[in-house]
């Protein structure tokens, strides 16, 4: 870290402190928690873009898959739904659903194998198409009744297949794994083609992931939202703390209100945990970047043709980095949901969770891990402060105006203004300082 | 001595730090054919590009009809009456033959029908294929389209970068005949050729380049008769 970095980080820290002093410490810490998560997501995107020059517009998909992992790992088990029977259900609903999904995957795998090993020509195309179509109907025949049975069980509170009820910290790596699997599939298809095809294809896969989470109620209750997910170890609940005599005594000793103290403590623990993950990631990434592998990645990014000529398998390396980057983003997505304690599919919009993360990476400094962290904390703060203080600020700006439709409109549009402002910021950085606030060395 | 119609005089320059051309001089007289030959990597195409302004010169001058055009962009040189046929990617593959020719005449505001007829007269096969996409033609026919497109600007100087690369010997002879015909109509021709012997046969003036510098400069006939040139560059 050089002087410039120190000054910039100090500046961002000052923003958070000012928010705490002027607005409220609760808001400031909330933003910091989300800023840290954004920084982790930005690190993952920076791996793809900064190290390898891959432009993926499916970040929101990875984040949502990470969130879904929390529901599966930590959601309460619903044994009645899993064991449910019904018309067309010959196993228990849960097992039949898993069986149906297995059939779907097996059919796709079979199609790929046939495509690879059969000689080119019409028979091959027809066989593959037949396998896929037959497979689709078979899958639907097994899968649909199971879903109906599961969703029929107590739809007001459940209607989902249930999770393992484990501590949600286990969901973090699983979230990464989910995102990695999706990245593997999409990378296999669209890497090695024109570079904007990856951008288009990832836009599509993200859209499908979000649609599935919204409409497949058996997974996570869809748009009915999934609430009451447990907190990750070792984060306590405020009410438990307030009932703990030791904590109460501590509060009395220091003259703190137990409610304030417990909220701040919980936030502090989250900040500590997320910072730890962030630090570990940066340490790993910095090592990787300075290893022979990191040098090779940069060589490929800077000149694909000559790297390929030197015998580097460019497509394979791109696939690896694409998967790793997506996994990091997916893990951050899981961390986010485990902290919120709920999965709200409606929240996952491309603008907020794909392009905003992109702005963090580019403004912070493509290719520089510290830059991504800075971008995450800075842009995250800018974005969220508008949610919290936007109407306030706009109210102050427009205080000279008379009350009326214009003033109402101006206050209403404050949150939209940030889209414009961030777009302008992105373009200015790209144009005048394309290497970002903290350039790659 | 009066200037030739076109002269690139003592041209020095290259793409990166190292110069590819070293005080190389190329000139063509009105209505004549000048040919640049030489071993691979001698800077033949580079010399041609330098004359056309696709390469920044560190030294030397290019003059067309006595006017210094060293600073002009390739586009401006087209307007001055120079036409260039690149070695590859020299046609619009998705457009018809006739559209290719029309695009050649893009800058002209007058009636192009007459020139179009002239090109079809020169290359009759193009007339029969005029509504076909140029990308579907054979190699030799594509070269004809490429030359035809360049002629549509009504140039005073036609520059050809290896026009016979990748075409059969029969097609090559045919193409050379057409090039002579073009020169007879008063258009100067400057070309780079791999097939040195055949090219020098039709050349009024030949330039043998080695390492970006002039090694031999003479009439085509004299170069073909020169035993040194024969031994070193024409394979005996």
């Amino acid at each position: 870290m050089n002087n410039r970095a120190v000054i910039l980080f100090a500046g961002v820290a000052l923003l958070y402190v000012l928010t705490g002093v002027l607005l409220s410490w609760n808001v400031s810490l909330n933003i910091l928690i989300l800023g840290l998560l954004s920084a982790i997501m930005a690190l993952g995107v920076n791996m793809q873009w900064g190290y390898a020059g891959l432009f993926s517009t499916g970040i929101v998909g990875s984040i949502a898959l990470g969130g879904l992992a929390v529901v599966f790992v930590s959601g309460a088990p619903v044994p009645q739904a899993f064991a449910a029977g019904g018309p067309g259900v010959f196993l228990s609903a849960g097992w039949q659903l898993i069986f149906g999904l297995t059939v779907a995957v097996a059919m796709i795998a079979a199609a790929v194998v046939i495509w690879t090993y059969m000689p080119r020509g019409r028979p091959r195309a027809i066989t593959v198409a037949a396998v896929l179509i037959a497979g689709f109907f078979l899958y639907r025949a097994i899968f649909d009744p199971a879903v109906t049975a599961i969703e029929a069980f107590d739809p007001a509170t459940h209607g989902n297949i249930g999770g393992f009820g484990l501590n949600s910290i286990w969901a973090w790596p699983v979230g990464g794994l989910f995102a990695a699997i999706a990245a593997w599939a999409i990378g296999k298809i669209s890497l090695g083609l024109r570079e904007d095809y990856l951008a288009i294809a990832t836009l599509g896969i993200a859209e499908i992931v979000i649609t599935a989470i919204k409409s497949e109620d058996w997974m996570a209750r869809g748009v009915k939202n999934f609430i009451n997910l447990p907190r990750p170890w070792p984060v306590p609940y405020e009410v438990e703390m307030q009932a703990d005599p030791g904590f109460l005594a501590f509060c009395v000793n220091w003259g703190l209100s137990p409610i304030t103290a417990s909220t701040l403590a919980v936030k502090g623990i989250y900040i500590g945990m997320f910072s730890l993950v962030l630090a570990a990631l940066i340490w790993l990434l910095q090592r990787a970047l300075n290893s022979p592998w990191g040098r090779m990645m940069r060589a490929i990014r800077d000149n694909e043709v000559s790297a390929a000529a030197m015998g580097k398998d460019v497509k394979r390396q791109h696939l690896i980095i694409f998967i790793l980057g997506s996994a990091v983003v997916g893990m951050a997505g899981a961390m986010y949901v485990s902290m919120l304690g709920q999965l709200v599919p409606g929240e996952y919009t491309t603008l907020r969770f794909t392009f905003l993360i992109w702005i963090m990476v580019i403004v912070g400094g493509s290719g520089n891990n510290w830059g991504s962290v800075l971008g995450g904390l800075l842009v995250g703060w800018l974005w969220l402060i508008v949610d919290n203080a936007g109407p306030l600020i706009m109210g102050a700006v427009t205080s000279g105006l008379q009350d009326g439709p214009l003033k109402d409109h101006l206050i209403d549009i404050a949150p939209q203004f940030r889209l414009l402002a961030l777009g302008v910021a992105l373009l200015l950085v790209l144009r005048f300082s394309p290497r970002g606030l903290l350039p790659e060395k | 001595m009066a200037d030739p119609f076109l002269i690139g005089e003592a041209m020095t320059g290259g793409y990166g730090a190292a110069d590819i051309l070293n005080a190389c001089t190329i000139a063509v007289e009105k209505g004549q054919i000048a040919v640049i030959v030489g071993p691979n990597g001698a800077g033949k195409s580079t010399a041609m590009k330098a004359v056309f302004g696709m390469l920044k010169l560190r030294g030397g001058q290019v003059r067309l009809n006595g006017e210094d055009i060293t600073k002009l962009s390739p586009q401006d040189r087209v307007a001055k009456g120079m036409a260039f046929v690149p070695q590859t990617h020299n046609i619009f593959t998705s457009m018809t033959v006739e559209e290719n020719l029309e695009m050649g005449a893009f800058l002209r505001r007058d009636d192009i029908k007459h020139t179009l007829e002239q090109v079809y007269h020169l290359f009759p096969i193009l007339k029969t294929k005029r509504l076909q996409p140029a990308g579907e033609l054979s190699g030799g026919q594509r070269q004809q389209v490429a030359v035809g497109r360049a002629l549509m600007t009504q140039p005073q100087l036609l520059m050809l970068d290896e026009p016979t690369a990748g075409v059969s010997p029969i097609v090559m002879d045919e193409l050379f005949d057409r090039i002579i015909e073009v020169a007879r109509s008063g258009i100067s021709i400057l070309m780079v050729e791999q097939n040195a012997r055949q090219a020098l046969n039709i050349a009024d003036r030949g330039y043998v380049l080695v390492q970006g510098a002039n090694r031999y400069t003479d009439t085509g006939e004299a170069l073909l008769a020169n035993p040194d040139v024969r031994r070193t560059f024409l394979g005996g």
């Binding site: 288009i200 491309t350 | 307007a79 690149p86």
Partner: protein, 335 residues
């Protein structure tokens, strides 16, 4: 009789909606493919360009309505269309001057332009939401139905009705005229041919004296027209919501890629391929099948391949199939 009923149901629920949606996608995809062919990048701001243009059209529609100007039975929006195109074209030319031109001069990699277009997307998105808000806007006026289902039933005596909405007819006619005008322009005019030449072989186009700046400017103006027309037709047919326009990116990109990015013919075909697949796959076939098979065979389920929520999955699957097996698209032979 049953066969006729099935046919009418098929027309009413599949063919007509798909043709109308396909026409909207085709016009949108033409813009994407044109920008790709000339400027050589995938424009992620396209959905928001459509939203921006449609917003301008809506504002002018309201203005005309408040002034009492009407071209009933045609929707007032058609009258507002030229104004929308004018303002959007000015906006796009402005963005080109301020934003894209710099990267073009630098000969930046296409992916940089894609990222830049995402920045432009943010700006347009913000502008649209600030000016007209995020709410749904219905701005279709004029005749509701060309043929209403009731009239059709009374007239033919069939059990199934065939309804043709006014907006469907407007969509089809406008889209057809737009495409015809564009193809005439590209095939027959000097400027149009120079655009094709530039798209085909930029270096040779320069050697032929074609002015790249002019080609680019004309492209933006045409793109603006296409964006505004596609967006307005979609909004008339359904409704206007900024975020829906953003998500139209996927089917529109899919349409353009299916036909081969850069090929206008391909974009049109791609638009209809995507629209028909989307509707065929997400339509509940129960009704049509019930007419066709003997009563005892009538299906219990909806006979729907995928729920309508997954319509984007259809565009996506088409996209993937094309990327896997024909990366140059259906209409670009080995390039």
């Amino acid at each position: 009789m049953n066969f006729l009923n099935a046919l009418v149901a098929l027309l009413n629920f599949v063919v007509i909606p798909a043709a109308s949606y396909g026409a909207q996608l085709a016009v949108g995809a033409l813009g994407v493919t044109l920008i790709f062919g000339i400027l050589r990048f995938s424009n992620f701001a396209w959905g928001d360009t459509m939203a921006f243009g449609t917003m301008v059209v809506i504002l002018f529609t309201w203005l005309f309505q408040s002034m009492g100007i009407s071209i009933a039975p045609l929707p007032t929006a058609l009258l507002a269309l030229p104004f929308g195109i004018l303002i959007t074209a000015a906006f796009l030319l402005g963005t080109d001057r301020v934003v894209y031109q710099f990267y073009r001069r630098q000969k930046a990699k296409p992916i940089i332009l894609v990222v830049v277009s995402a920045g432009v997307m943010f700006i347009m998105n913000g502008l649209v939401r600030m000016i007209i808000g995020t709410e749904e806007q219905n701005f279709a006026d004029g005749g509701r139905f060309l043929i209403s289902a009731g009239d059709f039933k009374a007239w033919t005596g069939l059990a199934e009705g065939l309804a043709i909405k006014g907006t469907t007819a407007v969509t089809l006619v406008t889209a057809l005229l737009t495409m015809a005008a564009l193809f005439w322009f590209l095939q027959k005019t000097r400027t149009g041919k120079s655009m094709r030449a530039f798209s085909d072989n930029e270096d040779l186009a320069l050697l032929s004296g074609i002015n790249p700046d002019r080609v680019v400017q004309v492209t933006w103006v045409i793109a603006a027209a296409l964006a505004v027309i596609a967006g307005t037709l979609y909004g008339l047919d359904k409704s206007f919501r900024p975020f829906v326009y953003f998500s139209l990116l996927l089917p529109i990109f899919a349409s353009a890629v299916v036909g081969g990015l850069g090929s206008p013919m391909g974009a049109v075909a791609g638009g209809f391929v995507v629209a028909f697949s989307e509707i065929v796959v997400t339509y509940a076939w129960k009704k049509v099948l019930t007419y066709l098979v003997p009563e005892s065979w009538a299906p219990d389920s909806l006979m729907q391949l995928l729920s309508t929520d997954y319509k984007f999955a259809v565009s996506f699957s088409i996209l993937i199939i094309v990327l896997l097996f024909m990366p140059n698209g259906l209409f670009n032979k080995g390039k």
